[in-house]
Amino acid sequence: MDTPVIDIHNVSKIYNPDTIPVPAVNNVHLHFERGEFTALVGPSGSGKTTLLNIIGGLDAPSEGQVIINGTDITRLSANQLIRFRLHNIGFVFQSYNLIPVLTARENVEFILLLQGVPKARRDKRVHDLMASVGLGDKMDVRPAQLSGGQQQRVAVSRALASKPQFILADEPTANLDSKAATNLLDIMAKLNQEEEMTFIFSTHDARVIERARRVITLEDGRVASDTGAVKV
C-alpha cells in the first residue's frame, strides 16, 4: 500500500505566542505509510513530543494540517478528536500511564469497552494481546505490582486493543533498563511484522534507533534528516 496513512503538511507549533513565543515545531512536512517502524530522534527540546502530540490530536498545531486517512484532524472538535483517537490511534506514554485501579486485563479491556465491543470478542482480544506481549500469566494483577517493562507491555497491548491505524509512542523505553527496553522493542517489532501495525516512536536511545527502519531526525523543531519510508 503506497497511500500515506498520515500526511503532515507545513505544520508549525509556537507555544505562548502572546508572551514569550517558543517555536517548538517549525514547518514540518512528513508522510507516514502503513506498516512503518519509525523512530523520531533528536536532542531533548527538539520538538519530538510536540510533534507526536500534534499527530495524535492531543495538541493543536499553530499552523498546517494533519491529514489522517483523508481526515484533517486539526478541524475536529475536542470531543470528535477524543472519538477519533479512540478508533484510530494507539498511545504509549513514557511513564506507562495505566489506570491504577484496574488490573492489567481490565486496562486493555477498557479501550474495547469504550468502543462498545461485545464481551466475548473483548475477552478473546484481551487474551490474545496479553499473550502476544508475554503477560498471559499477569492478567489479573494491578499495575503497581508489575515491573516498569511489564507495565509498558500492558500499555502496548492497550494501544493495540482498539485496532488503531497506528501507534504513537513517546520515549517508550526511557524509563526501562536495557533488558526490558530490548524486550519491548522485540515485541513492537513482532507486532509490526505480524499485524502490519504502524509504529512511530520518539527516542534518543542509540540501541532503539538501531532497530528502526526509518529514522527522522529533528533539530530545533525542523526535520534535519529523514532516511525515508521503508515498507515491511
Binding site: 495524535g56 472519538r83 479512540l86 489506570i99 481490565e106 469504550l114
Partner: protein, 403 residues
Amino acid sequence: MLFSIAWRNLWRHRTRSLAIIASVALGVWAGAFIVSLYYGMGNERVRIAIEEEVSHLQIHHPKFREDFEAVWNFKLDRLNDALQRTPGVKAWSLRTTAQGMLANAAGSNGVQINGVNPAAEITTRNFDHFIIAGVFFDPEKKNQVLVGKKLANKMKLAPGAKIVLTFLDAEQNIQSGAFRICGIYETSNAPLDERNVYVGQTELNELLGMQGCGTEAAILMHGENEIAGALAFLQKELPDLEVESWRTISPETDLIMSSLDISSFIIIVIIVLALAFGIINTMLMAVLERTREIGMLMSIGMTKIRLFGMVVLETVLLTMIGCPIGFGFAWTLNEWLSKSGIDLSVIAGNLMKDFGYGAIIYPDLPGFKVSQIVLTVFVTALLASVFPAWKALSLNPVEAIKR
C-alpha cells in the same frame, strides 16, 4: 466498567472516602433528628392544646370572643341536651367565664375567672392532675378558688389564703366575692396559668346573676377524626352559637404545625449546604490529584461525557453509602426516643413551660420528611459533583500528562 472504576477509585483514599460517607451520614442523621424533634415538639404542643387547654371543640356566643363578657351566654340545659345527642363526644365541660381582678393585701392582678363544674374538668382535661399544692376543690367547702403556680408565686398565695375577686356582672355592675384558695395548679402553659383562676360555676353564676347559664363549652372527642362530624352537627343544632375546632380557637398552635414544615426544611437546607461544601472540596481534591490519569483517559479515547459521568458517579456512590447509614442511626434513635422521650427541662429548665410545651418531647419522624431529606441530600450531592466533574473536563490532556 465505568462503575467499577468509579467504585475502586473511592477506595484509593479510604480515609477520605470514609470521611465523606461519614459526613453524608451525619448530615442525614442530624437533619432527621432535628426534624423529628421539631415534629415531636409540634405534636406535643397540639396534644397540650387539646388535652390541657382548649379540647377538640368549643362553643361560645358569636360575640363572646370580642370582649369575653359574661352577657354573651347560653342556657346550660340546652347545651347539655345538644351534646348528649352529638356523635363521637367523649366528655364536655360547660363553664362561665368573667374578666376581673384578683386582689389580696399584697396587691392585685388581672385574671380570667372560670366558673367550672369540677367533675367535668376532670373528665375533659384531668384537671386534678395539675394540682401541685392543696386540693382540687373540696366538696365540703364553699367559695374555693384554684390559682396557677405562676400567679401564686407572684402574689405569694398559698392554700388557705383569702383573696377577693372583682368582676362585672351581666348588667355591667361591679361585683366582688371573697374566696379561699383551695389549691395551686400547674399546666404546661405558664402564661395561661398566670391568667386563669377557677371557682365553682354555681357560685360564680350567683354573683353574676345568671343562674343556669354558661359562656363556654369545651368538648373532648373520641378522636381527631370525629371533629368534623360533631362540628357540623352542633352548628346545625345551635345555629345562634359559634362552634369552633381547636385549629381556629388556638390558631397559634395550628400555625406552629404549618411552620414546622418550613422551618425543618430550612434546617435541612443548611445542613445540606455544609455537606455540599465538603463534597465539592473532597471531590475537587480527588480530581486534581488525578490530573495525569484523567489526561491519559482523554488521550486514549474517554469522552468528556463519560469522564463527567465517572466523577458524578463517584460522588453518588459515596452518597448512596452514607444515606442509609445516616438513616439507620436516625431510625434507631427515633425508635428509642419516640418511646422514652427527651427531657428538655434538663437543658431548658422552665423555658419550655413558658412557651406552652411539656418538658418531655417525643420525637416523631414522618415518612414524607424522610423522603424529603433523602431527595435533598441526593440532589445536593449531584449538584456538588458538577463543579469537580467540570474541572476534570477542563483539563488539557497534554498538560495533564506532562505533570
